[in-house]
Symmetry: C2
Subunit: 241 residues, 2 copies
């Protein structure tokens, strides 16, 4: 069977022989934009059942349908890694969410800090970005993007069995320390562009489950730091080795 | 002395007591956009002499001037690392150049490969992006962005003492191999979004100075791959440890 070139997330159970109806947007994309016809194959995933090769049975631009053939990938869960970051300008926030999904974050948590400028996010739009990134990068899992939370409050209610890799410009901790930490549950915390406030920094340093890690001698923008930090983590503790 | 908040690249020698004239764009930025006045401080760098704190002496929007006080940073050269990549859509190409400058590339080389869609770049615009990234990230060095070159030709004329870290989706080489390679001169080669052609792949695998490295089990977009690859390299061979 030829591998489908188009990948699509659907909010529908997937199993061999299953018929999957498409909504208007999905139908428009497949049949008007991509111009697929009856008999064409599309790779479907739903974040739960892995990936299936599905054949177009109704090519209607306002409401098509497909039927699932064989599973082409099992569900591949990412490591239990959260990415916590302070939203910045719109385009760069979109990029951070996209990159987190590509790099294998299980959950994406926007936070407001003392020095965060942007106080609002569109959770639905960011979730759609994570979904699109999963479609593009061949993932079978879509990380959840949470609503904006206050960092103080997030830390006050923290599950202490979840380790934090804490990236702060002022720090010089080598990434090698990560290998010595026990624990399967992690979160990466990226500082806001204005840096953490002194009280935030003190609080973070006092947490026994927070591990400072340096991202080199240059100042990185938040979106660069997110990718770099996830690379460091995936290399030392994740599924890259 | 208060550290200046504005950083500016100038194409002019810098030394204590030196007067630095500004062109129209720079003057407009400092005096119309940032509204600096006589006596305000700006951090200047020129890619050669390090960074100087300079005081505004003429605040004219069409042609101001500053005088250099003390040097605030010596010149910090990045490791001898090139980033070679195939240009993609405009915004993502801009991001790759910006990220390469932030992450400490010494030279940025756009190449066309067999499967590259975008055949043209604006070298001057990309060079301006690298410069702006250096201004923002506190760098004292601006990597050169070369004109678009053909990958075949670049490899045919290659200096064989420069090692290549070769990132290819189809590969599974662990980054640990890098530590065993002798050589101070390196280039990272990021595959185009359509992948390398079979003949390109064979040619690369036959080169004794090309070292395949995996960037994990997910497919990364070219801009994500560029940051991830530079992180891997900086951690193993660069100035991050």
């Amino acid at each position: 069977m030829v591998q489908a070139k188009v990948r699509l997330f659907v909010d529908h159970p997937l199993t061999q022989g299953q018929t999957v109806p498409l909504d208007k947007d999905q139908s428009n994309y497949l049949f008007a934009v991509m111009r697929l016809q009856i008999g064409a194959f599309v790779a479907l995933f739903n974040g739960v059942d892995g990936e299936y090769q599905a054949e177009v049975t109704i090519a209607n631009k306002r409401g098509g349908a497909l039927i699932c053939h064989a599973q082409s990938k099992p569900l591949q869960l990412p490591p239990d890694l959260w990415l916590i970051f302070a939203p910045i300008k719109k385009v760069r926030t979109d990029f951070i969410v996209e990159k987190a999904a590509e790099m294998g974050a299980a959950k994406i948590v926007p936070v407001s800090t003392n020095f965060t400028n942007s106080e609002r996010i569109r959770q639905d739009r960011l979730q759609a970005h994570a979904l699109e990134a999963a479609e593009q990068c061949g993932g079978t899992y879509v990380p959840e993007v949470t609503d904006l939370q206050k960092l103080d409050r997030l830390l006050a209610e923290w599950d202490e069995t979840r380790q934090i890799m804490f990236c702060d410009e002022a720090l010089v901790g080598a990434a090698e320390v990560l290998g010595a930490v026990q624990g399967d549950k992690w979160a990466i915390l990226i500082g806001p562009e204005g840096g953490f406030s002194e009280s935030e920094r003190q609080k973070l340093h006092a947490l026994p489950y927070a591990h400072p890690v340096s991202l080199g001698p240059r100042i990185l923008r938040a979106d660069t730091a997110a990718v770099a930090a996830m690379t460091v983590w995936q290399q030392h503790l994740g599924d890259w080795s």
